[in-house]
């Protein structure tokens, strides 16, 4: 067995008096696609942000072996830059030359967004913004990709596209953690589903199909305290 790519140990996090993560333990192996589910407010985003380092834990630890990319729920593209500028800006600070431009073109083609390379984000649809955000992450050549609600605001057709898109990214060797409450989406893509309830990991299993995942979700979260 290879060492896990992400290790979260006894993670605690509160905002003021609100306990958001409590004693969370999680290890994630390379090449897996892990779904993080739970109702709104259960701490999915916070866990992702702590893994990335956007928020710091009150106690416990996170180790990531490899580069981490983060996809925001609302994408956070840079509105004053074109699509190409958005994805080239950060890598250009470290690397110059034609090879980088070629890589950018390749990523845009792979995500089927090259036609929009000189367009500003405000003129893109939700699905297109999603692709650009993904392209921007991929330009950093991450080993781990953390996505917060990657299908929120997308219609069913676009969601299906996101599934194949993320699968193709996984095929490149990128390990993914997807925070989502879209069970249909997770059933299609996740190799493992972690259930978060009020900041605790309450279940951790492999999903079968949509209906049984939905059943599991209902049994877990309609539980009385």
């Amino acid at each position: 067995m290879s060492a896990p790519l992400i290790t979260v140990q006894q993670a605690y996090k509160s905002f003021g008096t609100v306990r958001v993560l409590e004693a969370v333990d999680l290890t994630i192996k390379a090449h897996s696609i892990v779904g993080l589910v739970g109702p709104s407010g259960s701490g999915k985003s916070t866990l992702l942000r702590c893994i990335q380092g956007l928020d710091t834990l009150d106690a416990g630890g996170v180790t990531c072996r490899g580069k981490v990319g983060f996809m925001f729920q609302d994408f956070q593209l840079f509105p004053h830059m074109t699509v190409l500028q958005n994805i080239l800006y950060a890598p250009r600070l470290k690397e110059k030359g034609a090879a980088l431009e070629q890589r950018a073109q390749k990523v845009l083609e792979q995500l089927k967004i090259s036609a929009k390379s000189s367009v500003f984000p405000m003129h893109l649809s939700g699905g297109q913004k999603q692709r650009v955000a993904l392209a921007r992450c991929l330009m950093g050549q991450p080993d781990i990709l953390l996505c917060d609600e990657p299908t929120s605001g997308l219609d069913i057709v676009t969601t299906t596209e996101v599934v194949s898109l993320l699968q193709s990214v996984c095929a490149l060797g990128v390990t993914m953690v997807l925070a989502s409450h879209d069970l249909e989406f997770l059933a299609q893509i996740a190799t493992r589903v972690v259930f978060l309830k009020e900041g605790h990991v309450v279940a951790d299993e492999e999903p079968c199909d949509t209906s049984s995942l939905k059943e599991r979700y209902t049994t877990i979260f309609s539980h009385k305290e």
């Binding site: 956007l54 925001f72 609302d74 956070q76 004053h80 950093g140």
Partner: protein, 216 residues
């Protein structure tokens, strides 16, 4: 008529000084104000920036300028001419206002823009220069133009410490002619034309920048 024309030329001798004060003061103000706004955002320096802004906004500019020229500089034994002293005091004063304007703009940007820069590994300097400030400046541009206009009108205070600006030139002409009306109207005309020019240039820049989208 000929006399009016020569009066205009007389008062017009102050234009160059006024413009030097304005541009010097504004560039110092925008540079230092930007530094202040960034320092304020970053935490540790916040109380110092707040204190500076509060003091500058809470006392008359005329007092600040007099304090600098008649007290602080002589006490420190630093010889400084009127123009430099003027630029320094207008610049510091303007910096406080610019810092406040920028703070508003920075706070109204989504926090995610900073976080996106962070997750992409963009160093702070580049984040401010290329991601945050271009968006902020575009959003607050009209307010910045107002600040330049306010500064132009405040330059008239330079007469407290001397210096041949438009206002001062008109006062000297008044003293020569024992009449205030024409010289002051001419000075007012010059200021007004300058304000209109700044507005026009501002609108031109704003239109140019609006070909590209700003904010969200």
């Amino acid at each position: 008529m000929e006399e009016f024309f020569s009066d205009c030329v007389y008062v017009g001798r102050g234009i160059s000084f006024t413009l030097q004060l304005l541009t010097g003061g504004f560039f110092l103000g925008i540079t230092f104000g930007t530094v202040l706004a960034i320092l304020r955002h970053n935490g540790i320096c916040t109380p110092f920036v707040k204190g500076f802004v509060s003091l500058v906004r809470g006392t008359p500019l005329m007092l600040q300028m007099s304090l600098l020229y008649f007290a602080v500089l002589p006490l420190l034994n630093i010889p400084m001419e009127v123009l430099s002293t003027g630029i320094l005091s207008f610049g510091m004063n303007s910096a406080a206002y610019v810092a406040e304007i920028l703070r508003g703009g920075i706070e109204s940007l989504p926090k995610g823009q900073f976080e996106a820069a962070q997750t992409l590994g963009i160093p702070r300097f580049y984040m401010w220069r290329d991601i945050i400030l271009p968006q902020v400046v575009r959003n607050i541009f009209p307010t910045l133009i107002n600040e330049i206009i306010a500064l132009l009108k405040e330059t008239a205070l330079i007469s407290v410490i001397g210096g041949m600006d438009i206002m001062r030139a008109s006062q000297m002409l008044s003293a020569e002619q024992f009449s205030y009306f024409t010289p002051l109207c001419i000075a007012g005309g010059y200021y007004y034309i300058l304000v209109l020019l700044i507005e026009k240039i501002g609108r031109k820049f704003e239109r140019a920048s609006h070909h590209r989208p700003a904010g969200l």
